[in-house]
């Protein structure tokens, strides 16, 4: 693994000089350079054989309540309306509430599903049908309890801004399998954008080519993808040919290989103009697939984005991240979490099913989760929960994760993890492991030291591995 961008370029340029020579015809040059190491996104081998070749991360921004969805606590129901034990609250900081607030019992019914009898609430009827294909982690834990810092931590391994996101690390380590689409694609749906903003998918100190590219479910999927008004396909091609020809002439004169890269960037852009709209057109999907997801062509939704995520990874996109922000239920918990689950449950389950049916689940890692959990204590009257970092639930599927597994346990109130704790850094270490990396060795030198996604922490969760 090369330690920085300059090294990558050196290799690329050397290759360019040896293989391409200077002064090749434009056509030959583009075909030669498009797939070669002049491109920092050219495919690369990880440290060991990867189980997961690509990732779809369903980020439930705002932080869903583990207590209403995954982590059934009969004791919490029993102690509903009473104050939590004082020693539990020692040193505990809450965002909004006085920590010494009354306990609030779970608001939904739970039942056992699948062969291992995983408990899920009635909010997740669709997920229940694939529960044997997913691994549920009930012992998640994080350090931050405000949205933006916690989202940044979950995505970049640090609460401080300026670090690369997981998607950026993935494409930095693995490159891209397609040159026709961005390697790291991001969608947003729901009521709001993610609190962490652009930095949730930023490249941090990695070269900017690794940052996530935002796609939109309708209109131009990528900004500036369509030709401007008055420019038809022929004019675009003619213009491009002229640009390329002039660039080639300049390359012949001045010899700067950066011009060769520019030539190939323009060709890739041109190809993206065709491939991206084709990709976004879900109307060609069979009816039963659309129905399975609950997707409706032309109507942007989380469901559409899930289907698009599948189409993207099919076409070689390395990392797709869907942000759905609406889970911050300080109040109106019952009503709003129901809406959220209606908007997402079916599509999440469909994605797992669909990937499995296509034989892609094996090497596609699906991750579902928010930035933290919710308090067992009530906020407001009787219908809300505050932010809670000590214990929450996530699930993963495919990509070398043991299917049908439930791991980790919180205490009787769902307050602290008591068994098989998985910290954010551990999750990151495990995800990188599945992608073929030793998380301590996927590094980038910056500011005089080697940085990594897991910083100075992270243990691989062996138990999760298939």
């Amino acid at each position: 693994m090369y330690s920085n961008q300059e090294d990558a370029k050196t290799i690329g340029r050397r290759w360019f000089l040896e293989q391409c020579g200077v002064g090749l015809g434009a056509a030959a040059l583009t075909s030669l350079c498009a797939d070669a190491s002049t491109n920092p996104l050219a495919p690369k081998q990880p440290h060991h054989a990867a189980k997961a070749k690509r990732v779809i991360y369903l980020f439930m921004a705002g932080a869903p309540s583990h207590l209403e969805m995954f982590d059934y606590k009969p004791q919490l129901a029993k102690f509903d309306g009473t104050l939590p034990p004082a020693d539990l609250l020692k040193g505990y900081r809450a965002a909004f509430i006085n920590p010494n607030s009354k306990l609030l019992g779970p608001k939904f019914k739970f039942a056992k599903h699948g062969q291992n009898g995983a408990e899920l609430s009635e909010l997740l009827p669709h997920l229940a049908t694939v529960v044997d294909d997913i691994a549920i982690l009930k012992g998640m834990q994080t350090d931050a309890f405000n949205h933006a810092p916690a989202q940044i931590l979950m995505n970049t391994g640090s609460q401080q801004f300026g670090r690369p996101s997981m998607g950026a690390w993935s494409t930095y380590g693995l490159g891209a399998e397609t040159q026709d689409l961005p390697a790291f694609v991001v969608f947003s749906s729901g009521k709001k954008g993610p609190s962490g903003g652009n930095s949730c998918w930023g490249s941090g100190f990695l070269p900017t080519v690794h940052q996530g590219v935002q796609f939109r479910g309708s209109g131009d999927p990528v900004l500036y993808l369509s030709n401007p008004k008055g420019v038809d396909a022929e004019l675009q091609r003619d213009s491009l040919d002229a640009v390329q020809k002039l660039n080639q002439m300049r390359l012949d004169t001045v010899g700067d290989p950066e011009i060769a890269t520019r030539i190939s960037s323009f060709e890739m852009a041109y190809r993206m103009q065709t491939s991206a709209p084709e990709l976004m057109d879900i109307s060609k999907e069979p009816k039963h697939v659309l129905e399975m997801y609950g997707a409706e062509p032309g109507k942007p939704s989380f469901a559409n984005n899930c289907l698009l995520a599948r189409r993207l990874v099919e076409r070689g996109v390395r990392f797709v991240q869907l942000f759905h922000e609406a889970w911050d239920q300080h109040g109106s918990l019952v009503k709003d979490i129901k809406i959220n689950c209606q908007d997402t449950d079916q599509a999440c389950a469909a994605l797992v099913k669909d990937l499995k049916q296509r034989g892609m689940l094996e090497d596609t890692l699906v991750i579902w989760g928010g930035e933290f959990g919710r308090t067992p204590m009530v906020q407001g009257g009787s219908d809300g929960r505050d932010h809670h970092p000590n214990a929450f639930t996530m699930w993963l599927a495919g990509g070398g994760v043991k299917p049908g597994m439930v791991m980790g346990e919180s205490d009787e109130l769902g307050f602290n993890v008591v068994k098989e704790k998985v910290h954010v850094h551990d999750l990151h270490a495990t995800i990188l492991h599945l992608l073929g990396f030793d998380h301590t060795k996927l590094t980038y030198k910056f500011q005089g030291r080697n940085y990594r996604l897991t910083d100075v922490a992270g243990e691989i969760v062996q138990q999760m591995l298939a």
Binding site: F96, H147, S188, P194, G197, S265, A269, Q447, G448
Partner: protein, 1023 residues
Amino acid sequence: MLKRFLTWAGFLGSLWAQAPVDFIRDIQPVFEKSCLSCHGSKLQMGGLRLDSSVLAAKSIQAGNAADSTLFQRVAGIGEQARMPMGGKPLNPVQIAAIKAWITEGAKWPEAASAKTAEIKKHWAYIAPVRPALPAVSKKDWVRNPVDRFVLARLDQESLTPSPEADKVTLLRRASLDLIGLPPTPAEVDSFLADKSKNAYEKQIDRLLKSPHYGERWGRHWLDVARYADSDGFEKDKQRSVWFYRDYVINALNRDLPYNQFLVEQLAGDLLPNATQDQMVATGFLRNSMINEEGGVDPEQFRMEAMFDRMDAIGKSMLGLTIGCAQCHNHKFDPLQQEEYYRMFAFLNNTHESNLSVYSPADQQKRAEIFRKTREIEAELRHRSPDWAERMVRWEGTVKNDQPEWQVIRPEVDDISTGGQKYALMPDGSFLAAGYAPTKHTAKFTVKTDLKRVGGFRLELLNDPNLPQNGPGRSTKGTGALTEFTVEARASQSKDKTQAVKIVRASADVNLPEKELDAAYFDKTKKRRVTGPIEFAIDGKDETAWGMDSGPGRRNVPRKAVFVPEVPVENEGGSELTIYLSQKAGGWNSDDNQNHNLGRMRLSVTAAVDPKADPLPANVRQILSVNAAQRSPAQTAVLFSYWRTTIPEWKASNDEIDTLWAAHPEGSSQLILSQRNEMRRTNILMRGDFLTPLKAVEPGVPSYLNPLPKSDGAPDRLTFARWIADRNAPTTARAVVNRTWQQYFGTGIVATSEDLGKQADTPSHAELLDWLAVDFMEQGWSMKKLHKSIVTSATYRQSSNVSAELLAKDPYNRLLARGSRIRVEGEIVRDITLAASGLLNETVGGPSVYAPAPEFIFQPPVSYGPKIWNEEKGAARYRRALYTFRYRSVPYPMLQNFDTPNGDVSCVRRSRSNTPLQALTTLNEPLFLEAARALAAKTLAEGGKTDESKLRFVVRRCIARDPNDGESATLLRLLAKQRNRYEAGGLSAAELVEGTTSAHPKELAAWTTVARVLLNLDETITKE
């Protein structure tokens, strides 16, 4: 702890049975395998070397393993991290061997020890001295000392410099480098025509005098200063900081010495008689992000901002990575964690303030108001010679007319929306901070011993941490009180609290009824107003007591008194619950729409039917000073108030009010101001503000220059002067290195953010020192530094490169050629605008909303809806550095060209070359608009023939003439487009929509040509 240690140590002892320990057999292999990569000849983390007995000695107490840090650290005893750091712990046998070896006296055979007795000080920690100029092969090539160093290195490598670039290339290069704009064809012609020997130098002088110089180099500093127009984090609200941006531009344009530039940005507020500019300069430190999402602990994010400031100072000013020491001693550099927090302590005594700032014209207006007010007042005194006696009589009547008030210190709770936090201040007031809900009710509960409560007083106070000094939290520092209600019950009672009926209210400000500003629109159709204090007791949510008495006079303390119908009387005292309803804000709590009270204090009195003291707090304060001891300024303040109470002076009072009504609104700017009371600074365990370890005093790292002398105790100004000191080893090196980087693509030290031990080896170490010393000796003049570089023969080389040279030196570190670099994102846009003739060259002013797709500023792309009123007029075409910058939603065109978003300090941009860039220049609307405008300009000014037009349009983009091959290609494209438009195969009207050309087809055909040219690699590249 001790018990665990004893057991563990005992256990280890038992593991090592075979005595005695042999260093070479038992210990050295362990060091070699597990320790020397960090504590060996190459690296000496923490100053420790375990291949030398002398340099290992500090970690070993022979005979006493328990007290030896070597043993403690490998055994994982004590609070510090276990060694090997980040690696597998040694196995118990190895640990036991080390223990036994130390216990037996730590015998270390001389032959097995490296001979180095001291650790060499890293070059960057020694202040630079001017090196001698090296001997070189081709003296005639050398134009200035820079070239001597470069050529000496080329000589070593047996390389020869490239020939000088042609004049057109050179002028375009220098223009892009110095002002970030391409030369106009007229400038090119004038340079070509100038055959004088110093023709080039004249151009350089012209460019350095251009106001655009400050814009181009200012943008680089703004990267370093992590400038952005929004707060960052979730809310990412707009902030007003463009005065700081303009300060940077102006400082560079007037060539403010760099050392002074640094001092002003770190401590401008502490300079004697600080000017507005010097206050604004402290915005550098305030460029940190602010998190006001619901539920934050304001102190946590103040600390985050402090860490960010340290990081920015480290990277940008010191050129050193210091952030590591936030959590632990620096692994590679000698920086100790304690030293980090000692530097931190210099910065830790500030208020996060927000100042009203005024343009020069506004400042004049203000001066005029002050002057005329003084004249009118002088005139009043002149007309009433007995004014002094009258004022004394008045003083006697008001001096003791206030009842006794008892400040109450309640528990406070936000009951409706929650999330706003309150800090209890020493005077019993509460300072609101963090999240600012736009509609909420704050609830205060308190017990009072007073048997009878006859009135309640609410004071609203100024605070340097509130916008414009408060007393409210709106962007203007104002607030509004919708309703004041009280409930009470007897102190020990379990009864339900009873509402206390408030029947009268008075206040020291009662403004006429006025509709709320548009900023507070709440999406209802209700008519919402502010007005006199009665509005706070009328039971209506649409009316509130307002206090905005206009610019220049609104940011003063206020008070209101509320009187119950029947006094609250309880023999054993009462429990009071006071509700401050504040509902005069807008609909969106994620934006700057709050209208909240900022710092408030509650009091109660036993007096019956009390009234609000009409005297302002500052007047009351002056009255408490003995008349004989009052300063003339204090007397003047007193007079200014007193005159308003004299009925027969109404005309003059009105005249003054009219003057003040014309007071300019000004702008605001985030700045720092000094706290009177020092904050205690602690070393924080792993940087966690909740885990302080030990208090530290301000100080600087021992391996850098000593603190300069200061008049009192060293403060932030001393710290600033320390950084800007002639003996500071890295300050000048860091800035000359970064400047070099901007010209040549890579710094002399490639890792420009870090000159420390982990830095890349300098390509020309002596040149770096020569430049640094020369820079300081030339008065820290940036312009002189630029001139040395751009007039060198090194800079003037052609950037054409042969395959051989490229293979030998792919990154041009040796500088056997000029550097060919794609310009920065802002300049990509500026070139396009300049070429098209659209560029609006206005320097400075508020940031602008350049064309951008509206949806990116709305959910679900953006967390909340953001303001983006796309400019319609000439402001569309301002230089890209004036584009409004939201941190969480960066401007797409700039983001695609690697412009950083200001989250953290950036001293070295990434430079990518991507398909998204191609899509941007091909299809982004403003690029097309520019292509159209360039085509129109070409048709209007490019002469009669296609050839002359082509020459015109090419020169506007790349300065040079097209060659035959290029002309042929472009003319072919032109011909084909004309044919298509003529044949009706393509609609010209669509491409030139919005223009009023008489020849739309011709305009469209040329637009195509212009678009191709604006997309060329060469157009956006400095060759």
